[in-house]
Amino acid sequence: MTHYIFKRLLFAFITFFVIVSVVFFMLRLAPGGPFDGERRMPPAIEANLKAAYDLDAPLVVQYVKFLAKLAQGDLGPSFKQKDFTVNELIAAGLPVSATLGLTAMAGAIVLGLSIGITAGLRPGSTLDGLLMAASNLNIAVPTIVAAPLMVLLFSVVLSWFPAGGADTAWHFVLPSIALAIPLSGDIARLMRGSIAEVSYEPHVMTAHAKGLKMPRIVYRHMLPIASMPLITYLGPAMAGLLTGSVLVEQIFDLPGIGRYYIQGALNRDYTLVMGVTIVYSFAILTFNLAVDIAYGFIDPRIRVAGP
């Protein structure tokens, strides 16, 4: 098991390093610098600016300097928002994004599991048909359509929730739901399939024959096996959730790091975009690592032999 965890850790570290390097070189090799404005700057000023941001050194030196700073957790100054470092900007946005993401993830899992189990226990029934139709709808109606409609209905017409900002918990309700809905549809479909499949397994039949109550059979005998595909799916789901959060932050006007990403990408704020990309990849890789380790604990085959 230690060997397995070590291998996953090493893999995560290498992936992180590759991502950081690729993004670094991509940003530096792209045409157009961060200081290309409408008006040409006097050469002396431009040289000074470049020196201040370490842009005058050879690419390799820049890269090494960047890695050294990154190892200390320093993401450098923002190119466009002159008075802020990237660390400060991210520190301001991260709590908002993290709250949004975690609430949405929790909501999607609870909703998806309930729908999936209910439908999967009676495949082919009317209830199953209705629940699956609803889940398919949740997947098919894209967030770019659903989220504005939610604002229109719940904020503008009914005024139940505020339309933008992140001041109170109420501000997070609609965005979290908007982010969770498509994910819950995926989870429900996944769970329905695996629950329906596992209910034919001999050990579940035995549990029925012993006269166990339904909730206990589902909880003790079906869920541990049926949730394996779900656990594998959580890694990519997390990546999808991050992407979705960029959009949801934009629509609901939440000041999270997704907004900085779009803003930074539009103004060529290299350091800001790098910083947000690094935070995103770090979050995804940590989450994936946790999922892999959890998988190792749940599945005895991996515990013994490795994947």
């Binding site: 792209a30 495949p123 997947i139 894209p142 499949e197 997390m238 779009i262 995804i284």
Partner: protein, 278 residues
């Protein structure tokens, strides 16, 4: 042909999805020709008009015909689906087949790379690419393909592993056929079924991704249009003229639903093993 017909007849849902998709496709091809308007003309007499006999889907804030613009958006969506899927098949099939056929360390390395990319937020990388290297729509489409080949590679590898020790592959090896010949003539034709299924399921993904990026203002630019751009414009005006959001939004949702439904049913239809739970 007979197989296709049997699949379409297998359930009402499949027939409905196929017909709806055909309608949207016909609209994309013929729509702009059928309507008297074109997507850029402004009708000054009916700015932000609601749907009528003259403007079937109404008009937008500057009086452009929404029906024509929505159908132009459909063209963009089908183009992105075609280009991105071509790119992803071109990378994914050889990648998976080579990994599966070679096995051992090569396989390990190639699949680790896939795992690594799999956990990245692909759309964000595409945004970065498009912003850095210019807003060329074909670059955008190709980049979307370049992030969506992973599932295909995994499927092809899995199927190839299954085939690797099959007697007819052994026989081909014994006859001294080259690896590339075995791949092209014996492996790939046998994995065609799963490839078709996952291609159908990948299309809604890339259509959504394009509309997502265009919605944020980073994809297709005015005066060209796409469903993402139209939905974004519709969102600005949804309180006064909701049809601007509803028509393009519904077209997008319907198209996604059709592809998802067809892909799912195709999987159940071709995969007899899962008949039990289908």
């Amino acid at each position: 042909m007979a197989t296709t017909w049997r699949f379409l007849n297998s359930s009402k849902l499949v027939m409905i999805a196929a017909l709806m998709l055909l309608t949207v496709m016909l609209g994309a091809v013929l729509g702009p020709e059928l309507s008297p308007w074109n997507g850029e003309d402004m009708d000054w007499d009916s700015l932000e008009a609601s749907p009528s006999m003259s403007h079937w889907f109404g008009t937008d804030l500057v009086g452009r015909d929404l029906f024509v613009r929505t159908m132009q958006g459909a063209r963009v969506s089908f183009t992105v689906a075609f280009i991105a899927v071509t790119v992803s098949l071109t990378i994914g099939i050889p990648w998976g087949a080579v990994a599966g056929l070679m096995g051992g360390r090569t396989d390990q390395l190639m699949m680790r790379i896939v795992d690594g990319i799999y956990c990245l937020p692909g759309i964000l990388i595409v945004i970065l690419l498009v912003v850095l290297f210019g807003r060329n729509q074909y670059l955008l489409f190709a980049a979307l393909g370049a992030i969506s080949w992973l599932t295909i590679a995994r499927i092809v590898r899995g199927q190839t592993l299954r085939l690797r020790n099959a007697p007819f592959i052994d026989a081909a090896r014994c006859m001294g056929l080259s690896t590339s010949h075995i791949l092209l003539r014996h492996v790939i034709p046998n994995v065609a079924g799963p490839i078709i299924i996952y291609t159908t399921l990948a299309i809604p993904g890339v259509i959504l991704a394009e509309s997502f990026i265009s919605f944020l203002g980073l994809g297709i630019q005015e005066p060209d249009t796409s469903w993402g751009v139209l939905v974004s414009d519709g969102t600005q005006a949804m309180e006064s003229s909701p049809w601007l959001l509803i028509f393009p939004g519904s077209c997008l949702a319907i198209t996604i639903w059709c592809f998802n439904t067809l892909g799912d049913r195709l999987r159940d239809h071709l995969d007899h093993r899962d008949k039990r739970t289908a």
